[in-house]
Symmetry: C2
Subunit: 319 residues, 2 copies
DNA sequence: ACCTCTTCTGCACGTTTGTGCAATCCGGTT
DNA sequence: AACCGGATTGCACAAACGTGCAGAAGAGGT
């Protein structure tokens, strides 16, 4: 009767996915062209009208996932990827699957902390829409940096999350690192900052990647280590502190400790003890260079859910 | 690593549905042919590895469904079907969509009562598999009839349900109608029968169609009225009692009453008061001839969920 | 009314997907 | 070892599908 766009999309989706009609048949019933139906269906998928879930019966879940769960105490989602695939393709595919895995976990009234970085950026491009009420996306750590595109970069990521889930977005308008720990202390008393910190304390979900210092010189260093956020001195300090990686610019060692890492006093990321209080903490990892950082993050118990590519999963287990 | 059939199916499903790879790409990664991948995916869908759901945002759910919910107090699932489609195609499409709508509602530890008839038969052909623990399918009303294929017919339906959900199947080994009400009373004391009745009392879900006597002579009468279950005398008795339809061979009038319908004393279907105690009662209806029976069933409050074709939904509302 | 800018539509084409069929593989039996 | 029946594979072809493009249809503005 009515021909509203999303009404048609719903009808088309039902006919296609629930009745197994072909697009041609649907086009005839809706009195339009097949290509329009194709587009309606695409829209239905993107807007979350249609949800496709792949659930692995946990009994015989892939050995890798079970193994990781037992050994590290996190729910693992291994993204199947053949070894031959290039690193940037791996990232893409992990990101797509991560986005679709996260979707169903997002509730109404959620407060979702989101970090920034190349991994999260990739994820943010593939989020599937899902309508929620009264949800908030909050930035986990500052990003205004001294050099380049940091701000738009981080805010783009947040904006995409906000749009996908129909949520308010709260940016954290501070640099990634302060130059002086004292400035941080001062800023932390500011009302504008306290509002964000308060939101962070009430997070119901956090989503982040990991940075990894890698075996020195070998790996591709993650953003923080190469992006001009830190100068030579800082990097030396990290080495002295035996840091292996970071989550939202909070650094930790291989054994998971982070308390007396010097740089953390100037970082704007959430204290890791506080992060650990969040109910659902999703860590997305792609690529072999991240493995050391990931180990540290797991030792620190930062994640409840881990989404990673098959290669990394293997390496994580086999040693 | 391993190449187990269902393991590959899971990998393929993840790559296809979560990573948007083409079957060709997947075939290369799994070192097999594209056609095999196509078949793996088909299997993943059939076995419930992949679940696709279409959710209509209840705010702006199609007006028809809202209207039906308000007026009749049941959750309506209207199956979109153009008017031009033939009756048997409508049945097919309602059946497919019904099967996929029921799927997600089935839990472990469920006791599911299932009726028989052409509608349920059609539904049973399209069930998507779903693994559950400790569930039971129980036959709602007897089917052994005096003439023909009744037994295999009903038991086939039950078998399909049982297989789809990995559930035990409990048949009800009695005829649809007794010739003498006394025999029923006697049988109802038998232990074998009481076991079934006990299960029925503990049902968590019931699935049934409706029979409809239609405007005399016009509609296609449903099985019960044409299948040789009832003789001329019985049919006259029904007419005298102003019966408009039945659910699981229990008859009722347009106003929903059923107490003193003579034939019910000899029917093996569940008493309607008892049926109404079941938590989830799903009624599947297709085709215009059912409309009178459906009205009665709704008046009697027999269903909590109603799955029906668009044409019937319109007719139900517009008058 | 006219123009402009945007959104939507159907076509045409290349790509992707389903499936009948013959060949092959595999497990069990004689 | 030879045989057999059923399951599984890849091929080849037809059907179904996605998408760039050019034109149509709307929405606004002057």
């Amino acid at each position: 009767m009515e021909g509203s766009r999303s009404g048609d999309a719903l009808r088309a989706a039902q006919m296609y996915y629930l009745q197994d009609l072909t697009m041609n048949a649907i086009a005839r019933e809706l009195r339009t062209s097949r290509s329009t139906v194709s587009r309606l269906l695409a829209m239905a998928r993107e807007t979350g009208l249609v949800q496709i879930q792949v659930n692995n019966p946990s009994e015989r879940a892939p050995a890798l996932e079970q193994h990781i769960r037992r050994r590290f105490g996190v729910e693992a989602h291994v993204v199947p990827v053949a070894d031959s695939v290039s690193d940037s393709d791996v990232l893409d595919r992990v990101a797509i699957q991560a986005a679709r895995t996260i979707g169903p976990l997002v509730d109404s009234n959620a407060i979702i902390g989101v970090a920034w970085g190349s991994t999260l950026s990739a994820v943010s491009h593939h989020l599937t829409r899902k309508q929620t009420h009264d949800s908030t996306i909050v930035q986990l750590n500052g990003a205004g940096n001294t050099q380049t595109t940091g701000i738009t970069y981080a805010s783009e990521i947040l904006r995409r999350f906000g749009q996908a889930y129909g949520a308010r977005v709260e940016q954290f308008p501070v640099p990634a690192f302060f130059d002086h720990a004292g400035t941080k202390t001062a800023m932390w008393e500011e009302r504008s900052v306290r509002r964000i910190l308060d939101l962070q304390r009430r997070m119901t979900m956090a989503i982040f990647g990991v940075g990894s210092v890698g075996s020195v010189g070998s790996g591709i260093p993650s953003h923080v280590y190469s992006g001009g956020y830190l100068d030579r001195e800082d990097l030396e300090a990290l080495e002295n502190d035996a840091v292996v990686g970071d989550v939202a610019t909070m650094f930790f060692r291989a054994d998971g400790t982070h308390r007396d890492v010097l740089l953390n006093g100037r970082s704007t990321g959430p204290d890791l003890d506080e992060l650990r209080r969040v109910g659902r903490r999703i860590c997305v990892v792609s690529g072999e260079s991240k493995i050391h950082g990931l180990r540290g993050a797991l030792a620190a118990g930062l994640a409840t859910d881990l989404i990673l590519d098959e290669g990394s999963a293997r390496r994580l287990v086999h040693t």
